[in-house]
């Protein structure tokens, strides 16, 4: 890791650990002041000037520290603003995963479901088709009618309804709402990798401390073998997410986003099962920290596409290309 990256990763870990139990507003101030949301903003504009791989460091840490704020979403919003050549307003910016509505010259009418921290954010960024092209749309949350919802981890996933709301809009070349959704999947893959790492860490610590039959649980081979699998899934999800972020920095990245979400979803399923099993009843309590990871892992598997969704997408693409192209296509992705 380069020196700058090490610094970024240490700062992120410190800030997210410090702000973990703070109320959202205060936590967000700390996060914003540390510049975590500005990792993709150019240095000239006061950001970190980082790559998508740098962004992954922050997003994975968000998962590993069970960060209860739309930090990954805000980073994605800055990337969209870069692509559209606009400057984001100040505040907490979230993402609208799948807008259902239209632009009518001056305003946006329609609704966006599943907006992370919609109620808390100042603005929501999304992509809407207009004419032959695609527009980045930035709307003020204050202009929306908010229907609150939460995912199983208690994270706000609100529906925002707009009626001819005034907006900032700009053509966003190379993007459409499908790509936005795929990048959302990539964000979640990094968070999943982080949360699995968090669950592994807890599981190792817990089984080394907890004694049964006169010795630590970690001494039992049945426990060791399960935790080894959990460690394998940690490695696999980390690698899949990292490859997607690398691809996002160099090319289109759609296949990689899909594959990373598909793989990390599978890892999440295995990991939640093992982490809970080795914790016994303690892991099933509100008091103990494990659920901060596992409830998010359950929620995130559905958000931005489950295995059926991405499996179908990849599967039809691969089948259409046929067996003769399969391998050449697969290796071309990393060349």
């Amino acid at each position: 890791m380069s020196e700058l990256r090490t610094l970024l990763s240490e700062t992120t870990a410190r800030v997210l650990a410090d702000s973990r139990n703070a109320p959202l507003e205060r936590a967000w101030t700390q996060i914003a002041q540390a510049g975590l949301a500005s990792v993709l903003i150019r240095e000239d504009d006061g950001g970190f000037g980082g790559t998508w791989s740098d962004a992954m460091i922050v997003m994975k840490a968000a998962g590993q520290h069970a960060c209860a704020a739309p930090l990954p979403e805000n980073i994605l919003a800055t990337a969209l603003a870069n692509a559209a050549g606009v400057t984001l307003p100040d505040g907490m910016i979230t993402i609208g995963p799948r807008p259902d509505g239209a632009l009518n010259g001056t305003g946006f009418t329609g609704s966006i479901a599943g907006v992370p921290w919609g109620r808390n954010a100042s603005h929501v960024a999304t992509i809407v088709a207009r004419g032959g092209g695609h527009q980045l749309v930035i709307a003020k949350v204050a202009d929306a009618k908010i229907t609150p919802h939460e995912n199983p981890a208690g994270e706000p996933r609100d529906t925002l309804a707009f009626d001819n709301a005034p907006i900032v809009t700009a053509e966003i070349p190379g993007w459409d709402s499908h790509r936005l959704y795929a990048f959302g999947a990539m964000l979640r893959s990094a968070q999943i990798a982080g949360a699995i790492a968090g669950a592994l860490e807890l599981s190792v610590t817990y089984t080394r401390e907890r004694q049964q039959f006169g010795r630590p649980l970690a001494n039992f081979q049945a426990i060791q073998q399960q935790l080894a699998v959990l460690a394998e899934e940690t490695a696999a999800s980390d690698m899949a997410a990292a490859a997607a972020f690398r691809a996002a920095g160099t090319g289109e990245g759609l296949f990689e986003c899909a594959a990373a979400k598909l793989r990390t979803n599978r890892a999440a399923r295995t990991a939640t099962g093992i982490a809970h099993q080795v914790h016994g009843a303690m892991g099933f309590t509100a008091e103990y920290d494990l659920h901060h990871f596992t409830r998010r892992l359950w929620a995130w598997q559905t958000e931005f596409g489950n295995e059926r969704f991405w499996g179908g997408k990849i599967g039809s693409g691969v089948a259409a290309r046929g067996p003769a192209n399969f391998w050449a296509d697969l290796v071309a992705l990393s060349e």
């Binding site: 179908g312 697969l330 990393s334």
Partner: protein
């Protein structure tokens, strides 16, 4: 992947296109590094695709680990018959490069790089499988060398290899890890007998090897006397992290794609998508170890992770394909799909045994986690 690797990949594909007979069946291709052809190994040597990363003075080609990776993954995917030289190129050569004497390097490496010297791995014994440190085959010192007595088992390709790297006991005290030493044993040595063992399909790839006072000269001891355990450990990272640890079932995946056609059912799409994502992830994982191997590190834990996830995948693939194959598929017609499926159903149990079992790999990972 560096740009040179891309050009090389093209070259390898063109070569394979020319050299792989069109008539080779899919099930035959699935054998890949379990099968072998002497002429093919020589051809690869002529291409400069064996001993690729080794110094030129030992007949190597001083190319990068990434370039070697490109060559071996293309060979495996094409189902090329690479089994004869596989072990020599993958681990015996690197072992000698790292621990061997100058004379050993000068003698063996050029022969391996030409595709003329094949090696086998003499680790397992009847009473020492997972518990490798308990091997009993013993070498005792004699004038000018050593005499080996004992038995190895499950030795793949002992019947075709020219040499074995044997792990044997030389120490007097039977302490578990100390007192083990590696020797290069000439398979034509007097007193050495190879007996094939048929596997459950009736094919014979592995063997029993008996040592009856087999003489090995002093200059065939590898590395340091008593250091065998540590040396074997270093060898295993090469053995466990390569693309052959997730690609063993790729022929069946390609057959599944062929039969599913361009407009597969929803179920088929799901499976294809899932298996593709898995292979893509495993490839990233396997390639990420290259850098560490190139830097002379010993990524034993990373390699164990790749091998366990990789072999679990290549083992699950035939089961998934069987469970979800179309209604009219039988295992009896001898068509390419059936043949490949039935071959892999029967051989896939070995994937998580050879090269260290699943349980042993997980034990290595658990130790790294601080659990043992």
């Amino acid at each position: 992947m560096p740009p040179a690797a891309k050009a090389l990949r093209k070259e390898v594909r063109a070569f394979l296109n020319e050299q792989m007979p069109k008539s080779v069946s899919s099930a035959e291709k699935a054998r890949s590094w379990s099968g072998g052809a002497a002429a093919f190994s020589k051809l690869l040597g002529q291409q400069g695709w064996l001993g690729m990363t080794w110094p030129k003075k030992y007949g190597g080609h001083e190319r990068s680990y990434a370039e070697r990776y490109v060559v071996i993954e293309e060979l495996l995917v094409a189902g090329a018959p690479v089994g004869l030289h596989w072990v020599a190129d993958r681990q015996s050569g690197p072992l000698m490069l790292r621990f061997g004497t100058e004379e050993q390097r000068e003698f063996f490496l050029p022969r391996i790089a030409r595709g003329e010297a094949y090696f086998c791995i003499g680790m397992s014994e009847p009473n020492s499988g997972s518990d490798l440190a308990s091997v009993r085959t013993r070498a005792h010192k004699v004038e000018g060398g050593w005499r080996i007595n004992g038995q190895k088992i499950w030795t793949s390709n002992a019947h075709s290899a020219h040499y074995m790297i044997a792990l044997v006991r030389t120490g007097e005290a039977e302490t578990r890890h100390a007192g083990l030493t590696q020797f290069i044993v000439d398979m034509k040595s007097e007193g050495l007998t190879v007996k094939p063992i048929a596997n459950l399909t009736g094919e014979s790839h592995f063997n029993e090897v008996f040592f009856d006072d087999v003489f090995v000269p002093d200059n065939r001891l590898v590395g340091r006397e008593g250091d065998g355990w540590r040396q074997v450990g270093a060898e295993l990272a090469f053995e466990r992290s390569g693309p052959e640890r997730y690609l063993s079932s790729i022929r069946l995946f390609l057959e599944f794609l062929r039969v599913a056609g361009p407009n597969p059912t929803e179920l088929e799409k799901q499976l294809i998508g899932r298996m593709t994502a898995e292979m893509w992830t495993l490839r990233q994982m396997s390639m990420s170890i290259l850098g560490k191997l190139a830097a002379g590190e010993d990524p034993a834990v990373d390699a164990a992770i790749v091998k366990d996830i990789g072999t679990s995948f290549e083992q699950e693939l035939p089961r998934l394909v069987q469970a979800n194959a179309r209604e009219d598929v039988t295992l009896e017609t001898g068509d390419a799909f059936d043949d490949t499926l039935s071959y892999l159903l029967q051989t896939s149990p070995s994937f998580s045994l050879r090269g260290g079992t699943r349980e042993i790999l997980r034990g290595i990972i658990a130790r790294d986690l601080g659990l043992r």
